[in-house]
């Protein structure tokens, strides 16, 4: 067995010190549902494993007085599911997170890990992008914030600097008449990887869409914010013309691969279909109808 160390620091400063000192040999352990599989298959051979779950901030789920949420990077899908308020305010983000793997995986896997693993098909990422989530990262040079869509750099890669650790997600407070939804297309009914995934978050006032953001996954090297799709919905009553314009923006944003799960043509077409369906669900939730 190669030398390998397991550390479970109690403080973030300690974790960052250990993580930065070990350089590229270090791996962060949150839920471990990707890391342990990678270790088992020999893809990753960490010298130091830094378990961040003993750090209170990393597993906390906090609702601010203004209705915003801060979610620790290692909070599990099941912890978010069990939270009395989170799923009421962000049903779409929760459904994206809860689609990651089985109930067993949910017991450990975190949206932080889903983002940092860098899979283009991570189910929570498009929903977080739609939500306008901001992440806090901390490294040897201090804290900084990034938009969630600016974190992935490509399959398996992120824009975090060496030694930086993802600390938390912040989801903004929501005006009344707001909600969100996430849908994905998979060839099976459960336990599969998205062929296309779409998160839509919107606000509706007096029947008119006043704000909308669309996150698109599994159709490009990273999950994407499709600004043009959001713009197409804003100012409309979510009529067919606006939906078709937003669907076209999603299709235009696709740069997918051909693989056994779906062809390029299929993924592009599906992106448009899912935009319409996901928007309908988010709108229904936002208006209570």
């Amino acid at each position: 067995m190669a030398d390998i160390r397991y550390l479970a620091p109690q403080s973030l400063d300690e974790a960052i010190g250990a993580f930065a000192a070990a350089g590229s040999a270090a791996r962060i352990l949150a839920g471990g549902t990707d890391l342990l599989v990678q270790m088992r298959s020999g893809v990753v051979k960490p010298g130091v494993i830094v378990d961040i779950k003993k750090i209170a901030e990393m597993t906390a789920i906090k609702e601010g007085a203004d209705g915003s949420f801060v979610i620790g990077a290692a909070a599990s899908g099941m912890a978010l599911y069990e939270h009395p308020r989170f799923g009421k305010v962000w049903p779409g983000v929760l459904e994206g997170i809860n689609l990651i793997g089985s109930k067993q995986v949910q017991g450990r896997a975190s949206p932080g890990g889903n983002l940092m693993n860098g899979s283009p098909a991570g189910d929570s990422v498009p929903a977080m992008i739609a939500a306008g989530a901001i992440v806090t990262v901390q490294g040897p040079n201090g804290r900084r914030e990034l938009k969630v869509e600016d974190v992935p750099a490509g399959p398996g890669r992120t824009n975090l600097k060496p030694g930086e650790i993802l600390v938390s997600f912040k989801l903004p407070s929501r005006p009344s008449g707001s909600s969100d939804a996430y849908l994905r297309m998979i060839p099976r009914t459960e336990m599969d990887i998205a062929v296309v995934g779409i998160g839509v978050s919107l606000t509706i006032k007096d029947g008119v869409c006043t704000a909308a953001r669309v996150g698109l996954g599994a159709v490009a090297p990273t999950a994407l914010l499709v600004e043009a799709a959001g713009k197409a919905l804003v100012g409309s009553k979510l009529d067919d013309a606006a939906l078709e314009k937003a669907a076209e923006a999603c299709r235009a944003a696709c740069r997918p691969i051909d693989d056994k799960r779906g062809t390029i043509a299929y993924r592009i077409k599906t992106a448009g279909v899912l935009l319409k369906r996901t928007t309908a669900i988010a709108a229904k939730r936002a208006t209570g109808k």
């Binding site: 067995m1 471990g32 099941m78 089985s102 109930k103 995986v105 949910q106």
Partner: protein
């Protein structure tokens, strides 16, 4: 490299063991702890045969490091029966022949128990989705799902009778 000393609670009993930094919880259960009821199927979190609960949340013990158990409360299949008295799920699985080779069974039971603790009255769809992370290559799942549904109904009746 020194081994890691872990103090934890398993099935209500305080336990301690030594592990390597990259041992999984399943390695520790089946090795030093001698709790071989949790089975090793895929070792990649797909099959659910190694299911346990940690602080009442269902997890795959193959996807958890043994060192991570420090300070937590674990439940394994060995803790499901009450001494010689089988848990209603175990009894029903036997009566309904909801198993054939048995490799998936302890994981199925732990996962089903975790479901019924949260939701004593699940629909068939809820049972099927909840057990999607437990693979069985023998039964075709139907007998398992029926056994869970019937156990849930009997446990609800039992609670009602006890209340009357």
């Amino acid at each position: 490299m020194a081994k890691i000393h872990v103090t934890t609670t398993i099935n209500g009993e305080p336990m301690e063991y030594l592990c390597e930094p990259n041992d999984t919880m399943l390695d520790a259960l089946r090795g030093p702890l001698g709790l071989t009821g949790s089975k090793e199927g895929c070792s990649s979190g797909d099959c659910g045969a190694c299911s346990i609960t940690v602080d009442d949340r269902l997890v795959c013990s193959c996807l958890m490091l043994a060192a991570e158990a420090e300070g937590h409360e674990l439940r394994t299949i060995e803790g499901l029966a009450d001494g010689e008295k089988l848990h209603p799920l175990q009894q029903k699985f036997l009566e309904q022949a909801a198993l054939q080779c048995g490799i998936c069974t302890s994981g199925m039971l732990i996962a089903s128990d975790a479901l019924l603790r949260r939701n004593p009255n699940p629909s068939e769809e809820e049972v099927r989705f909840w057990l999607a992370g437990n693979l069985c290559r023998c039964t075709g799942y139907d007998k398992i799902v029926r056994a869970v549904m019937e156990t849930a109904a009997e446990m609800r009746d039992g609670i009602k009778e006890a209340a009357q």
